[in-house]
Subunit: 343 residues, 2 copies
């Protein structure tokens, strides 16, 4: 067994005992870091995703600065959409698809055979990062869930009410099914490629999975998430499913074969542990706590660590991505507090 | 007993048996109605809120057109903030406060003694509407919850992450407490005024109450909501508490003395009934279903009606406000379906 296999991050995902709680934070390679902003002065977000050396550099930045217990590949959930024939760019208002995917023809024209070929730069970045990380820190690969990707494809970018997606769901559900199936195939191939390239764990992000009625969640989202997670069951790589706003869907979520579930801060961690005893849990500090007093950061982080000792396994994280104005000193206090806690 | 007291809407709020399910929809007096848009060509949103005859006219429009089983006062949740010394206006991007309330001085300077006096036009509108409605259709008054109002006051308008409010919560919670207490006093007076003016039921809107950790919900939101609801306990007017995204907070919510709870569409109504057997429930169709097929509208509405028969009482509603592009024909189909259902 390598040191990596025994890292406290992977042990907690597998539910094995460790003496302290591992921590990483979503979007840890991001805009709150001055060294990241320095790279972004030279490269656009899109170029950064597509340049393995630069993606490796920004992935490593938060590891060097804070000593997080896991690294996460720098990339974007929309990356596997481009080889499908749905190019996008990133502006001030977030991602914009060149043209939204709404009609039968739009969906039929999406290509699902090019995930590996079209995203070779991601595999290359993973190899570079693994070389840098060595045996000390595990690397998390990731993808967006088919539903979350479908919201961007159909709306053409971010959305408030998902009017186009829901119009499709409530008038041509078979079209949405077809799109979801194509995205699922693409994600399966994209994640298999990441595993082959060497990632040590996988997180599936379902940021917008919580906007549906539970019956629609069960019909539209759950079978595809299950298919993706099952495709990795024999990979030896533990899987994390992060469904934001998961509280109404726990009965469905707990039918999934997955090592760990992400939790946002709107559910108490102890409540989550009670309802999901068979899963390791990841979370769940409100990212905005980092804008507050350091005493608050410490006491809230410690409370989560203490509650986490009752879980099958617990990985400390924020309940959603860290925000661009999070002060560096606040992140330092957070990491120090969590890594100083002894179970 | 008047006919009004025996209306199916009020009976369902009180948990008394009726042969069919009453329906109204949030924002039923709004932009999806051409006759409303015609009024808005002559008056701004702000003028409309402040002109009793016009507010009465737009309140009546959806009753005349669709025969909803309850009318809701046309107004805005921000209305009681102006007499406190926090004026606002409505632009294309939603409400904007003239200046956000963030410092100790800002909060101290807020005035809580003028709710009745400063919003006399609301009382006048209520009296006009009651005259128009007669004994046939009950009128719902409403207010925003202190927390939802606090988000607008502190952020200065709508917000994505509530950075300023949460910075206050996580660094100067005593300031947020002070603001919340002032808003609670104001809302109590504002709702008492509405009851005196003649409304038949009250809805408290907590649109943004779901953004906190349950422990913060219990500390910051719950005691103030309780105080407001309790202030109306002897009024004879049934109360509805609508907390959007309520799923993680049901244990707290079910300590409230209130007749009915609003539900959005992310929780199944049957699940809500199981967890909240002692309350009448209101909801919970996704407003976007109105963008879909009429077959979908009918089957989904009927399913909610059928599930609702198991509740203590059930008032059909959307899970959030109706959207501006909802087709009139879809609303007609919805009302016809719900009013045609026999329990």
């Amino acid at each position: 067994m390598s040191t990596l296999h025994d890292s406290i991050f992977l042990k907690n995902l597998r539910g094995e005992p460790t003496d302290r709680t591992p921590i990483w934070v979503m979007r840890q390679a991001g805009r709150y870091l001055p060294e990241y902003m320095a790279v972004r002065k030279k490269l656009s977000f899109n170029e950064l995703c597509r340049t393995p050396e630069a993606a490796c550099e920004v992935t490593m930045q938060p590891i060097r600065r804070f000593g997080f217990d896991a690294a996460i590949l720098f990339s974007d959930i929309l990356v596997p959409l481009e080889p499908m024939g749905a190019p996008f760019h990133f502006g001030d208002g977030g991602p914009k698809l060149q043209r939204p995917i709404r009609s039968e023809d739009d969906i039929r024209n999406l290509n699902v055979t090019e995930a590996r070929e079209g995203t070779g730069y991601v595999a290359e970045a993973i190899k570079l990062i693994k070389g840098e990380l060595g045996d000390k820190t595990p690397l998390i690969g990731f993808a967006g869930s088919p539903f979350t990707l479908a919201t961007y494809l159909i709306e053409g970018g971010g959305s408030k009410n998902y009017e186009n997606l829901k119009t499709m769901l409530y008038s041509r559900p078979e079209l949405l099914d077809e799109l979801m199936d194509k995205l699922t195939d693409q994600i399966i191939d994209y994640l298999a490629m990441q595993v082959e390239a060497g990632v040590d764990a996988i997180q599936l992000f379902d940021t917008w999975g919580g906007i549906l009625h539970p019956q629609d969640f069960d019909k539209v989202i759950l079978p595809r998430v299950r298919r993706i997670l099952d495709s990795l069951a024999d990979s030896g790589v533990p899987r994390i499913y992060f469904l934001k706003g998961n509280a109404p869907f726990l009965e469905s979520v707990k039918t999934l074969d997955v090592e760990a579930l992400g939790m946002d801060w709107t559910m108490d961690l102890s409540d989550g542990i009670k309802k999901l005893p068979n899963y390791s849990l990841q979370g769940n500090l409100d990212p905005l706590v980092l804008y507050g007093d350091h005493d608050q950061i410490r006491s809230r982080a410690l409370e989560i660590c203490r509650k986490g000792t009752e879980a099958k396994g617990h990985v400390f994280n924020l309940g959603h991505g860290i925000l661009p104005k999070a002060p560096i000193a606040a992140v330092e206090t957070l990491v120090e507090t969590v890594q100083g806690f002894r179970r």
